[in-house]
């Protein structure tokens, strides 16, 4: 059992990231206030903002920029979150996202994709445990399309205006007609809510 866990941890720590939806939007409890966050993790650094669709409304728009310093490419993510249930102990949201890639090295590539996800938050306004599932489709100017599939787990805390979170995601990119590639990433994030 411990050997299997060690093997799984090794795979997750050494797998490349990328091909993912936003970090800020992968939460079941959609913030009613504007917020900004910076995040950094095992593969990438970046930051983003999320603003409610309307003051105190049941959804939010978000924008993130991330740089994958291991694989050296940049990614922009535009997200929309919908609060599906009222804010209770178990709170559900749905997300849609568009992402764009710029891959500079070698044959420079541009990529674009679309994602959809479901996020469940367990907890209250101060602390939540979030689980999420995300599927997407992405295409690049230099290669075949890929279908990212992800499961995520996050711990999110809010202390006054300060936001803190630890999140991880793992899954695979399915490349139709070819293979799959495992993916994993963990990030720590800190932010501010107005």
């Amino acid at each position: 059992m411990s050997r299997a866990l060690a093997c799984a941890a090794m795979v997750l720590l050494s797998a490349p990231a990328s091909a993912e939806t936003g970090w800020l939007s992968a939460r079941g409890r959609v913030s009613a206030e504007p917020r900004a966050e910076l995040f950094g993790g095992s593969q990438s650094v970046g930051g983003g903002i999320a603003v409610p669709v309307s003051a105190g409304g049941p959804g939010a728009f978000g924008f993130e920029l991330a740089f994958d310093f291991v694989n050296r490419f940049a990614e922009a993510r535009l997200t929309r979150a919908w609060q599906l249930t009222a804010l209770r102990f178990a709170t559900l949201s749905a997300t849609g996202a568009l992402n764009g890639f710029y891959v500079p090295q070698g044959a420079a590539a541009l990529g674009a994709g679309a994602h959809a996800g479901l996020n469940l938050a367990l907890g209250g306004g101060t602390f939540t445990v979030d689980v999420s599932a995300d599927v997407g489709a992405e295409g690049f100017t230099t290669g075949p399309s890929r279908l990212p599939l992800r499961l995520g787990l996050g711990l999110n805390a809010r202390i006054g205006h300060v936001l803190l979170s630890a999140q991880g995601r793992a899954g695979a990119d399915v490349v139709p007609g070819r293979f799959f590639a495992v993916r994993a990433e963990a990030v720590l994030a800190a932010g501010w809510a107005w």
Binding site: C7, M10, V11, S14, A15, P16, S18, A19, D68, F69, V70, N71, R72, F73, A74, F101, V103, P104, Q105, G106, A107, A109, G111, E138, F140, T142, G143, R146, D173, V175, R178, F179, F180, A181, V182
Partner: protein
């Protein structure tokens, strides 16, 4: 003061470009001896993944490739066996004129990032730096050891490689029909003393695969395909031949096959 801001901006953009663009492709390698050198490249797989690839090639004393339009081989590592443990084989083949690429894989499990092998094949065909023109683009084969043999079979199905070699392993059962239909040249090298990919299993798994040449090496064990057979010995799997002998037999069999391909 008015000129200071653009300089800062130039520095910032310069630093970003350095980070984003990465190292240039090497134009010469590190000499390993016996007319062989190695160099590291980075290649993109799955559009965004940077894959380190070790390339071992015939060279002069300065590490400059001697090969022009040579045969190329992408070698896929066995499961949880570092790609560096096959450098002995790459060196033996490069000493005979073959350019060998050893791509790294996630957690040393090629099955988790099989596309890396295809990207390494592209590197040999269209490589920058010292690889420019070194390999004939229509003479790139693929080989794999153990679990790497499964991946080698899958890569062969992509029609990017001219032949496939299974070392102490065999393709996935679900790929056998398609590989047979493809009728690409195939070689299998098996050790009669292999305790992991046992000879009857290898024979059985390859029985439906054709055309295929199976070479059975007397006394050779599973890990003698790597740089050490200590793992065999510690598990009670006693080799019937010395490691050096096994290496010579394996390299000869693989080169005879790759070298004979048109």
């Amino acid at each position: 003061m008015g000129r200071a801001v653009p300089r800062r901006l130039r520095f910032v953009f310069g630093a970003l470009a350095l980070v984003a663009c990465g190292p240039a492709a090497p134009t010469r390698g590190t000499v390993l001896g016996d007319g062989v050198a190695e160099a590291w490249f980075e290649v993109r797989a799955n559009a965004t993944d940077l894959v380190p690839v070790r390339v071992v090639f015939p060279s002069d004393e300065a590490g400059v490739p001697r090969a022009r339009a040579a045969r190329g081989l992408v070698f896929i590592q066995g499961g949880l066996v570092a790609e560096g443990r096959y450098v002995w084989l790459a060196r033996a083949l490069a000493a005979r004129g073959v350019v060998v690429a050893l791509p790294r894989h996630v957690a040393d499990l090629a099955i988790l990032s099989a596309e890396n092998g295809r990207a390494a094949g592209g590197l040999l065909r269209d490589g920058p730096g010292l690889l420019a023109g070194a390999v004939h683009p229509e003479h790139v084969a693929v080989a794999g050891h153990s679990l790497g043999a499964v991946v080698a079979g899958k890569l062969m199905l992509g029609a990017d490689f001219t032949s496939v070699s299974y070392l102490a392993g065999y393709p996935e059962a679900s790929d056998v029909a398609a590989l047979s239909a493809q009728r690409g040249p195939a070689l299998a090298i098996a050790g009669t003393a292999d305790c992991t990919a046992k000879l009857p299993d290898v024979r059985g798994s390859l029985s439906g695969l054709g055309p295929l040449r199976l070479i059975e090496l007397e006394g050779v064990t599973h890990y003698q395909f790597t740089d050490s057979d200590a793992q065999d010995v510690s598990s009670g799997c006693v080799p019937g031949v010395a490691l050096d002998t096994a290496h010579r037999l394996i390299a000869d069999a693989l080169f005879d096959f790759i070298g004979a391909r048109p």
